[in-house]
Symmetry: C2
Amino acid sequence: MQKPSIPKGTRDFSPEEMAKRNYIFDTIRAVFHLHGFSQIETPAMENLSTLMGKYGDEGDKLLFRILNSGQFMDGLTPDERATASSLDIANKISEKGLRYDLTVPFARYVVMHRHEISFPFKRYQIQPVWRADRPQKGRYREFYQCDADIVGSESLYNELELIQLIDEVFRRFDLRIRIKLNNRKILSGIAEILGESVHLTDMAVAIDKLEKTSLQQVNEELAEKGLSETSIRQLQPILQLSGTNEEKLNKLDSILSSSETGRQGIREMRTVLELIRPLSLQAIVELDLCLARGLNYYTGIIIEVKALDAAMGSISGGGRYDNLTGVFGLPDVSGVGISFGADRIYDVLNSLDLFPTSIKPTISVLFLHFGPADAAWCQPLIQSVREAGIPAELYPDPVKIKKQMSYADDRHFSHVVIAGETEVTQGQVTIKNMLTGNQLTVAAADLVSQIMN
Amino acid sequence: MQKPSIPKGTRDFSPEEMAKRNYIFDTIRAVFHLHGFSQIETPAMENLSTLMGKYGDEGDKLLFRILNSGQFMDGLTPDERATASSLDIANKISEKGLRYDLTVPFARYVVMHRHEISFPFKRYQIQPVWRADRPQKGRYREFYQCDADIVGSESLYNELELIQLIDEVFRRFDLRIRIKLNNRKILSGIAEILGESVHLTDMAVAIDKLEKTSLQQVNEELAEKGLSETSIRQLQPILQLSGTNEEKLNKLDSILSSSETGRQGIREMRTVLELIRPLSLQAIVELDLCLARGLNYYTGIIIEVKALDAAMGSISGGGRYDNLTGVFGLPDVSGVGISFGADRIYDVLNSLDLFPTSIKPTISVLFLHFGPADAAWCQPLIQSVREAGIPAELYPDPVKIKKQMSYADDRHFSHVVIAGETEVTQGQVTIKNMLTGNQLTVAAADLVSQIMN
């Protein structure tokens, strides 16, 4: 006899949790539709050739690999069998992996289906992804992503649209947020004027940690990664740039005046911020020069969303990538996208008690029964309640009424219907409103109207 | 440069396909709710100890296994590395597999969460499953199942409810169906009176093929499996039993009079058929003694659904199992369930042209633009259309109007809004109805009411 368990880092979702999760997914989906995004789905398994090398060396290690079927060891030489490393053997005995995010499968989709797609292509995708990360609080090995991307257009109106979309999603959740923006081109410009372009990625990774750690530690990491003392000193005023978005951009104007890339980044930021200004967003929009985001494929504006009233990492993030499909043979397709983290949003809404109370259907009816006669009598009535669009069911077993009532409580039925011998004889039913406790006996024909009353 | 592909037997779903698939899922989900089923979800990965041995030897071979992370070869002895079979090595280097169906994970869920569950527990689950089967037309390695089960009640009202639910789902799809019923106890009774109880499973598997193959071939298989010539001869009249459901049951009464199990099966069938009679179902309900269904865990009534107007295997099926959770340490929990095959239903609805034509949102608006001035002018108008609940978006690039219009066609927008220099100066917009071709210029303030008109 086995004591069952589930793999670490994975979860079951109960009916109560599903109701809340569906509230999140349905809200996001509705806003995606309102902005003209269309849904696609891709397979859980992708070829490893599609996934490998897209998420850095660390990402490759976090891929869940699928073992080839059948006599998978037959492809190995005796020598390989005896001595090859686990990694080398893995590459021989597995060809498929579980998707790690929705962006790379989407890039693969765009390339494979480019002749059916009308560009700019606005797609959304809500599916689970898997990462063999060490599980910890708030970090799972299976979790859902909700992504919206626009590919095939370089216009900054797309960035504007994503910012509006973010604002609308969190407005519907009644959650106050800060949208942090930066531009990879500004970061490139900074690295360029420091003479540290070769260290751009290391620099971005280090300063991205400024929010969670101290300036001291960031500086130590920068030195470790090989940035010169002079560069680190010159970087300090930039990292500590303060003031309004406009003030920051004005200071950057002079700092980056000698970098064409940097100036381009500033221009893009100005354009987007000017487009946003008249829109009276609910969110606070802030230029944050320390925002870098880890993923290498971003090339333009980057976006990250934080909840104002909860201690939680980013609950949404994204940015522009100029050449995501290039690796699959389709160059020059620029795109910009945003991803919502359903699990973190769930935790934030829960901690702030922001889930609507009426997630459960407001009306639902349980018919009790004590034997075949009244169960049979109830059948057409159950049918008529369902035909009115109201969930209805018969308690299936003729057990004691106390047990049936306690089930009605547990399942949160709004009404219970009882048809005992007296009622059946007189063509009546007794209805108990479980919210008020009121009970009344009516003609069977009036059941539906009485319940909907 | 890689030419991207996806693993064989898997599929991408385009926006058009997703709209149709969501129509199927949403319809089934609505009927599940109407009948009081609550949704749960379980992880894609389960421990292999949960999955193995539940689907027979064939099923075990069809499980997709996840390779352990890290130095997975370290657990093998040099001898095992050199000589162990692929299967033995697989058991050492993989602990998790992708779920093969939704029933076994559900049984595992019930046992793990039994203290939170109020029985009878009515759950539904709509998630993909994975099988390393040889892909062929209509058979995929990743496909969705839509399952509804009731556990913790032995009442035949549950069987009745599932039959009503099936009828309602296909009524909403406008699809004519035959619901075939049988009872494992009747099959057990038949094996018993033939003195072939040890061959029950082989017998069931063989006669289940009668629909697809000839009686001759079924008899050959029965002989191969070890049924005696006498038994096979005695079985013939039973396999060819004809008439109404009542006539079949009457004949079975005498055939199975000496088998207590068989008589119990007949009683259950009679009860369910009597409960169905007054309900005026749309479906044809037929007792089919050759219906056996492959899965070993069924112990009572079994159900299978066929479309009347399309050549397709069963599009839904299920049955009662008396001890599904026993293997996980929780005995005596009886359950009954039904599974809808979304992919086959999709193919049937497609072939009969039964998808509603208005799956796409009826109204949606594309704003064209020619430069920053009119794009900025459009922003508050786009916002106002969205606030009215109508999907709206700006074509993001200031390209030729012909290209923008062709995009509007491809994406099936119902309206296109143009605000050129003249319109902007006069506070107007030009609206083109893409269905009628009509075009008119109105005050910007009247845009929403004009579109909703």
